[in-house]
Amino acid sequence: MRLAIGMLTATALLVGTAQAQELRVGFMATFTGPGANLGQHLRDGFLLGLDHLGGKLGGLDTRLFIADDQLKPDVARQEVDKLLEKEKVHFVVGVVFSNILLAIYKPVIESGAFLISANAGPSQIAGAQCSERFFSTSWQNDQTHSALGKYAQEKGYKRVFLLAPNYQAGKDGLTGFKRYYKGTVVDEVYTQLGAVDFSAEIAKIQAAKPDAVYAFMPGGPGIALVKQYFQAGLTKQIPLLSAFTVDDTSLPALGSAAEGLISASQWAADFDNPANRRFVADFRAKYGYVPSYFAAQAYDAAQFLDAGIKGAGGRLDDKAALRDALRRAQFPSVKGKWKLNTNHIPINDFYYVTPGKLADGTPAMVKGELVFADYGDEYAKDCPMRW
């Protein structure tokens, strides 16, 4: 009976019979606490993607279950257990933060469902612990840092001051930067988690007189850092390069304090391709704010699932076929191109981006020159998967 349904997928779909033909997707992100803003971007992007596909991924009726990880690893684990065991989802999509992704990684990939990261990309998962049940529509964490390191190197900055929060992603981030930056690192300062006063660090920067500062400071602390750097009059004197600090989620709060600051990204709102033009216009019309890379990656995640499930003929229980179809999936990505590395993380072009204006004058991060073409992450070689 099961086989018969499998063979008659198309007809089954038309008459809408078997329960197995309903696609169940769990979407997990951070909706409460300091990271809630990013979760909102991620969810809105995914919802718009689903909307553009008529509410059906791969032509299947799709039921979406939204879960809040609260940025607490054990809550995330509980929520993902609910998605897997109670809602019996076929896919878990989303996840803003690396520590949350790591907390839910084992249960999801061992359950038979697929895990699609729309943002976080920790090195463990990109490397030795990669899995055929895991796919990403974003990046590996280090890539943006490396792109900025390369930018600093090409700009000829001789002495750079590094600043990051005292946690794992911070240390990894600075390592990523140093991979392509070969000049002198005058100092490497790690700040307290959630710190909002950077006067001590700024004074050290002033004393060290570097050619440039590289900062990785996501969320509220990043906003504080950029404002204080500007107030100290340093923005015009010492270029501030940053990752995940000045972006479309923080730009509204930063305003003119972010003017001229450099970051890097594999996507910007002014990317000129048909998919992106439609995405940005409809996103702004529907949600009333400018999408960020979080939203873009989640939008791509919906398109990616759609293409993959279609490629597998809508058969959700043949995991090997579904995996192969996801690997082969092609769709009009808002980034302008789509290619997966062997570790299932996209190979991206990275551009430097800077605050500017969209065609209608709205402030947004806009694309600068290309820094890295077809950049696959460094950890892929440690991943044993070959396909």
Partner: protein
């Protein structure tokens, strides 16, 4: 170069200390008079910052924004008293902690629901976008000077009121021995309301001052609250003098720890180890200071009750 850096970092510590004092002074008096632990004090700080930020963005007037913040904070502080605090006067500390923790959850979430989860813009007007040139090439941002000066002026006014006026004497007496004062016919509850209102206004003012420096977002009061508690416990509960002392101690310990600890450790340890240990120790610095103070003087630096006994 080093001496200038030291001066700048010292100023930074003082600036953090003045902000903390504005929040901590209200907290310590509220505790001193009615023995109430008010965790919702951090929320009031956030309200001040939100009131100032939204006023400034709409009106463009920083003066108006900074004037409105304490008023909004005062109203919220008194509203909280009406709704929650007044039922907690005679309860134990645990009940107070739990109920005001509930208030934090509610107000943080309400702010998120109303203003959205993203940080509000709160830029500085161009008039303050300059820095003081210090000898040796260092600079100090004007707005931070404004914070230091206005904070110190307010602290001076507060001390003037507390030590030079009759009303202040009553407040100090209430913080030392409220039972005795009540017997003398002073309406402790009314006095408490006045102090709570003033403390809330100060916290709201601190929020308005800090807004342009930090990110104005839901939950911004939580870290300030914890720091303020560290301050008042280190300084001695109920004592405004202790709060001032504690504020500067915590401000300086935090700032100097962050600036010099890693460098100092590099003299002793290999750089990689210093990079590992330094920031961790710097994060712990204020808690270490508090633990040490409490171990040596379990009542804090300035002990009111003991002096009164």
């Amino acid at each position: 170069m080093e001496p200038t850096l030291l001066v700048v970092q010292f100023l930074n510590g003082i600036q953090l200390g003045t902000l903390l004092f504005l929040v901590a002074s209200g907290l310590t008096l509220v505790f001193g008079i009615l023995d109430v632990i008010n965790l919702a004090h951090g929320v009031v700080y956030m309200v001040g910052a939100y009131a100032a930020a939204s006023t400034f963005v709409r009106s463009g007037s920083l003066a108006l924004a900074i004037a409105i913040a304490p008023v909004a904070a005062l109203l919220v502080g008194l509203l909280l008293d009406r709704l929650v605090l007044r039922f907690l006067y005679d309860r134990n500390h645990l009940d107070q902690v739990l109920a005001t923790f509930g208030v934090i959850l509610f107000v943080d979430e309400a702010v998120r629901a109303i203003f959205g989860p993203a940080a509000l813009p709160y830029p500085l007007p161009p008039a303050f976008e300059w820095s003081l040139e210090l000898p040796g090439g260092a600079t100090y941002p004007a707005w931070r000077l404004v914070i230091i000066v206005s904070g110190l002026v307010l602290a001076a006014i507060l001390f003037g009121i507390l030590h030079r006026t009759r009303a202040g004497m009553v407040v100090r007496a209430a913080a030392t021995d409220p039972g005795m004062l009540a017997m003398l016919g002073v309406d402790i509850r009314r006095l408490f309301l006045v102090v709570l209102g003033a403390g809330s206004a100060l916290a709201g003012f601190a929020g308005a001052l800090a807004g342009p420096i930090v990110a104005v977002q839901p939950g911004m009061g939580d870290s300030v609250l914890i720091l303020s508690f560290v301050v008042i416990v280190t300084g001695g509960l109920g004592s405004v003098q202790g709060a001032l002392l504690g504020s500067f101690l915590v401000g300086l310990a935090d700032t100097l720890g962050r600036s010099f600890l890693t460098d100092l450790l590099r003299l002793l340890l290999p750089p990689a180890a210093a990079n590992e240990v330094g920031p961790a120790l710097a994060s712990m610095a204020i808690y270490l200071v508090m633990a040490i103070v409490l171990l040596i003087r379990p009542q804090g630096l300035v002990s009111l009750r003991r002096a009164a006994r």
